[in-house]
Amino acid sequence: MADDRVEFELVSPERLLLSEEVEMVVVPGTDGDFGVLPRHTPMISTVRPGVIRVYEKGAVKESIFVAGGFAEVTPERCTVLADQAMPVAEIDRAAAERQLQDAREDLADAKDESERMAAEKAVTVAETMLQIGQA
């Protein structure tokens, strides 16, 4: 492995989306975005709904939407375990709007704390997806 590259892996429960060596990757952590370059401090972070940006030669090569998950960073590797992931270009606005509506309904129907929390999370995910889809 080259010294100035980060081995980046993005996996969702259904499949391995991306596994390649990249220059830099920016991950939306819960406490703020963080960029991962080679020889990064080992770290584990939760990921909020947002966009992962893969940089190549100083420019964004790929943008991928993630609906939250976890990221593990080691000096030579960055692994993101996403709950759900898809390239930004493939976001279907109509579907996202439907999802948002469903999530809001769920939130209104939520009976207990855990249901409410799950619905709130779904609302945030759908909202973020819409925002990103619009941009």
């Binding site: 499949r15 952590g29 976890f70």
Partner: protein, 296 residues
Amino acid sequence: MASLKDLRVRIASVKSTQKITSAMKMVAAAKLRRAQEHAEAARPYAERMERMLGSLAKAAVGQQGAPKLLAGNGREDVHLLIVGASDRGLCGGFNTSIVRDARRAIEKLIKDGKTVKILCVGRKGRDQLRRSYADMIVDTLEDVAKPRVTFEVADNIGQRIAKMFEAGEFDVCTLYYARFKSAITQIVTAQQLIPFAVEAEEASVTATGGAKAVYEYEPDETEILTELLPRNLAIQIFKALLENSASEHGARMTAMDNATRNAGEMIDKLTLTYNRTRQAVITKELIEIISGAEAL
């Protein structure tokens, strides 16, 4: 000696059975390919999840107030066994071998004076376990793999188990499923879900010599763990369900292949008997005619 007509009927019936089994084999093969793809696609996530959790768990396990899902609740009196089987039969020894392993574990636990609870996934597993352990079966989940295994289903099961655990309904949870190796071999695997089995993980980490680094946590360790643990539960169940469905189709394909072959052999044998009998009948008739003519 069966009459000619009997033999003809018999051959026709075996032939139609063979048609059915060979059609089932084709269907299973097609489904197997899809199920196998899904199962293999899900492996990386589950593996990395386990690795991540393993390195987290090592740090957290000795500490006070470690999450219960990780460290257990200190007891191991009530065991919950999740037995993953299929909803449909005609898949060779698939269900039987899973149930056999589960049954062995149940017997052992009972002998050790533990209480056992069973959660069946799939009708066939329940049908077999009901005979001897009807009162231990908590519930049965059906049609989890219909039309295909989704993460949502696994997540629901995971949440349910987590709730039961929090309510103190059991102390240790083990999952039984068949890991898919090939269409011919499926390995029945017992995986302990709660508490998370740290020892095995540690051994594999030190063996590879990796993950020695101390991690930074963002936001903090306990928060990550409280999110990661239920998630891991769902993922492990998801993986098991996928492996199980691939194994089921593999087992069915092999079983139906055998059945088709056996039917073919049987048809050959019956056809031979049929022809012999036919000849014998003709010969007998000829003898009768000739001896009748001679007597005149």
